[in-house]
């Protein structure tokens, strides 16, 4: 089964850049890496997705090295509203039916 490993928590101040690295050694050739954000009492929501190299959208950037065994989510200039749990998700390479399993996630706390 594809497993992901992330830091349990990260603290930051407003205006700083936050980088969260996820390890996924068993990622399949055709699988994408997807990051989700979850606020308390809400379901996770999609923030960014990539396959290799770098992807950027209006919210974040995703850096993926050539071997794809890890990925780094970068949140530029965080604000208090970025306090949330962030999950790294990859497809299960042993299950062609697309079963997805979440890891424990990274709790990001932004303070003034």
């Amino acid at each position: 089964l594809a497993k992901t490993t992330q830091p349990i928590s990260m603290d930051s101040y407003e205006g700083q850049e936050v980088n969260i690295t996820c390890s996924h050694n068993n990622i399949a050739t055709n699988d994408y890496i997807t990051w989700y954000q979850q606020f308390p009492s809400q379901g996770p929501r999609f923030i960014i997705q990539g396959y290799k190299t770098k992807v950027t959208n209006e919210v974040a950037s995703l850096f993926i090295p050539a071997d794809r065994k890890s990925s780094t989510l970068s949140l530029p200039r965080v604000s208090l509203s970025d306090t949330a749990v962030y999950y790294c998700l990859v497809g299960d390479p042993t299950d062609s039916w697309g079963k997805f399993q979440f890891g424990a996630g990274t709790q990001v706390v932004v303070t003034p």
Binding site: T34, Y51, L89, F100
Partner: protein
């Protein structure tokens, strides 16, 4: 466009009672999933479905049953509720793999159903 809707949003049960959680999606997604999330924990997959009439077990299937009689609905049942099933339950749906085999992996989640078993 409602997306993914879960019913009910809150429920209190006594040990041994049964209930069904309903998940409905209007995006014509093939895949649907049920997760549970305990306080301070990540999401754990209970059951999932890759199409109408097909279901499969996830990480923590014991004590739950599911059915996918219609493509848009995915039901999660608890036949005999236990306090250990106190949790927040999330339903999600997604597209199936592309014709090229690559899976984009974007899940669309409902708002959650908070279940308490006394």
């Amino acid at each position: 466009n409602a997306g993914v809707t879960q019913t009910p949003k809150f429920r209190v049960l006594k040990t041994g009672q049964s209930m069904t959680l309903l998940c409905a999606q209007d995006m014509n997604h093939e895949y649907m999933y049920w997760y549970r999330q305990d306080p301070g924990m990540g999401l754990r997959l209970i059951h999932y479905s890759v199409g109408e009439g097909t279901t499969a077990k996830g990480e923590v299937p014991d004590g739950y049953n599911v059915s996918r009689l219609k493509k848009q609905n995915f039901l999660l049942g608890l036949e005999s509720a236990a306090p250990s099933q106190t949790s927040v339950y999330f339903c999600a749906s997604s597209y199936s793999r592309t014709s090229g085999g690559a899976y984009t992996g974007e899940l669309f989640f409902g708002e959650g159903s908070r279940l308490t078993v006394l």
